[in-house]
Symmetry: C2
Subunit: 355 residues, 2 copies
């Protein structure tokens, strides 16, 4: 069951939960704001829902909430940082912020981060670049959670890739994981007794299926675009690990710590007005998006949109009416904030995102 809770209540409750764990005030503030804003944008799976798991990781020592990113080295528009297992959110926000500064100075900026932790919603940092007026590209590697195309066992991470365009009428933001459906989404459909809208994995007979229980049984979740998402996932992993001189997904598999513990992440920012006038570039963005959105919808009730366009509307509605939260997870976070929680049960695979 989902309920609506005012944004400020969500944020303050998460922050108190973090403060109770001894997380420094500035880190608690930034992480709580990002978790709350992620749910505000309708991506509950990586917002409120990940708070208990983050607390769990802090308690296990997989995240060091006091660690700060440290410069490993740099050359021109490129810098590399060691995240020292600090919070994924603060490490990643810092890295994209540096990439933006480098882009303002050099035209392009590229920051690589190693030994970091789960950044929650990858789109956060693409939005960050777009809100700073820059094109942003970012990706992370992760432990293996998906079989490569043609394989029956997990061999590659579901490494998300994000890209943002700073359109002033509303950024266009791609936030794309490499499996067709997140594991959490598969669980939601199973609990609801529904099939997935499109095939999302393989059954025990090796056939594509939309039956979520069959996919959970084989653990053969489907790469997006079959061989394409599989190939992109391994390429992103190799590139991230080399660019940050850090761990690959295979290294993380051997260490067997929490999701994304020790991951490498890449943040690229680019000044879109290097070779074109501001107004001309913005007019091109508006024209391109308008042409896409003007194509005939398959269902007249669902106009065609570009990624990110609907997020602003979701954000405004949730600000006015309250953030949609899963009742069980909200209860758990409230207990963490009240200090009445005994242990942590990770409910985050219950993805209440209704998108």
């Amino acid at each position: 069951m989902s309920i609506r809770v005012p944004f400020e209540t969500v944020k303050a409750t998460i922050k108190q939960a973090f403060l109770n764990e001894g997380i420094p005030e500035d880190v608690a503030e930034e992480c709580a704001r990002t978790h709350a804003e992620t749910s505000l944008d309708g991506v509950e799976s990586h917002g409120l829902n990940r708070v208990p798991r983050f607390v769990d990781y802090v308690r296990r020592g997989w995240v060091d909430p006091a660690a700060k990113p440290e410069l490993v080295g740099g050359k021109g528009a490129v810098e590399c940082y060691d995240g020292h297992l600090g919070p994924g959110i603060t490490n990643a926000r810092f890295a994209m912020s540096r990439a933006c500064e480098l882009a303002r100075e050099h035209g392009i900026g590229c920051v690589s981060l190693r030994n970091t932790t789960h950044w929650m919603r990858g789109g956060t940092y693409a939005w960050q670049a777009a809100e700073a007026g820059l094109i942003g590209i970012c990706w992370t590697n992760t432990e293996s959670s998906m079989p490569l195309w043609g394989s029956t066992e997990c061999g590659v991470g579901n490494n998300p890739f994000c890209m943002a365009i700073p359109r002033e009428k509303g950024p266009i933001v791609l936030d794309m994981a490499m499996s067709q459906y997140a594991w959490g989404k598969v669980g939601v459909y199973r609990l609801a007794g529904k099939d997935l809208p499109y095939p999302g994995g393989f059954d025990a007979q090796g056939n594509l299926t939309s039956d979520p229980a069959a996919i959970e049984q084989t653990r053969r979740i489907l790469p997006t675009g079959y061989w394409k998402g599989s190939g992109m996932a391994i390429a992103l992993d190799l590139a991230a690990a080399a660019m940050a001189a850090g761990k690959s997904g295979a290294d993380m598999d051997r260490e067997g710590r929490g999701s994304c513990t020790g991951a490498c992440q890449i943040f690229i920012a680019y000044d879109p007005y290097l070779f074109g006038e501001h107004d001309a570039i913005q007019a091109m963005f508006d024209d391109r998006v308008a042409a896409a959105d003007a194509t005939a919808p398959a269902n007249p009730a669902h106009p065609v949109t570009c990624p990110g366009e609907r997020t602003t509307a979701t954000r405004e509605r949730n600000l006015a009416e309250g953030v949609v939260v899963d009742e069980a997870i909200w209860q758990q976070v409230c207990e963490l904030a009240e200090g009445t929680s005994e242990g942590i049960e990770d409910l985050s695979s219950v993805d209440v995102n209704k998108k």
Copy 2:
């Protein structure tokens, strides 16, 4: 019907066809080599098969074979060139070569190219970076050829995205278009009277289908990963057009010239040894790829591989046994080389790629 023709014969024949069109010798050599090498690697759709169309574009004035890329401006690791509608292959090879030079100097190099033409196989330039020892990323925008997710009419280009990892035991190279199947592939299956292996578009009732004729009828080809490939295609278009301050896909649609005429392309190279030792990075690549390849195959006859790994074997076999060419297209190119061709029929939608 396909036959095998020695690589040097394929290359020399294509080159003669180009020389007959008045294409300068150095351009004819580089373009012929790239078309022939693309077929050699097993990607006939963008190799030999595109030769007649390229000649057609030259005759129509959509490609200026004598044009050279001209520097628009630069800042640090970034440069922008105007391709002046020169051959897509020579423009793109030049641009990736400059990106590699910039990467050696600055750690990263980013070259944007506007007013260029069809680059044929995008993977060519990713391979180029990998063979130079660098990580390469490149993409292009194109005219609309695919409906956005939720739309019934073409509204976005099938903009390919490529990524290469310079693994010395064999590069890992992703070359990924944004539709699940190329139009050419759909035609091949229809001609063969076969269904596509997986759904590749929508039928007249708006249902996903594997029937190639039904997809050709609606023109609703499927974005790879449904909403994901759709979103990535529009993000790549906007980014390319801004970074090169050039035409978007919507601009190209309005001009209605040949495929990719006036396109923008982005070439990024990155030095993988900036922050890690050469041997350690190569060992990480080998370890990561080995772990992926060691996962259990769904079909024991088809070992799990990473993208690019099988290309080297295909190349060696085709060098030894001859390049696989479609007989009708080969005949057409031979006539262009002999100067006996009257007109040009574009057969390139007959994709003889058997992969």
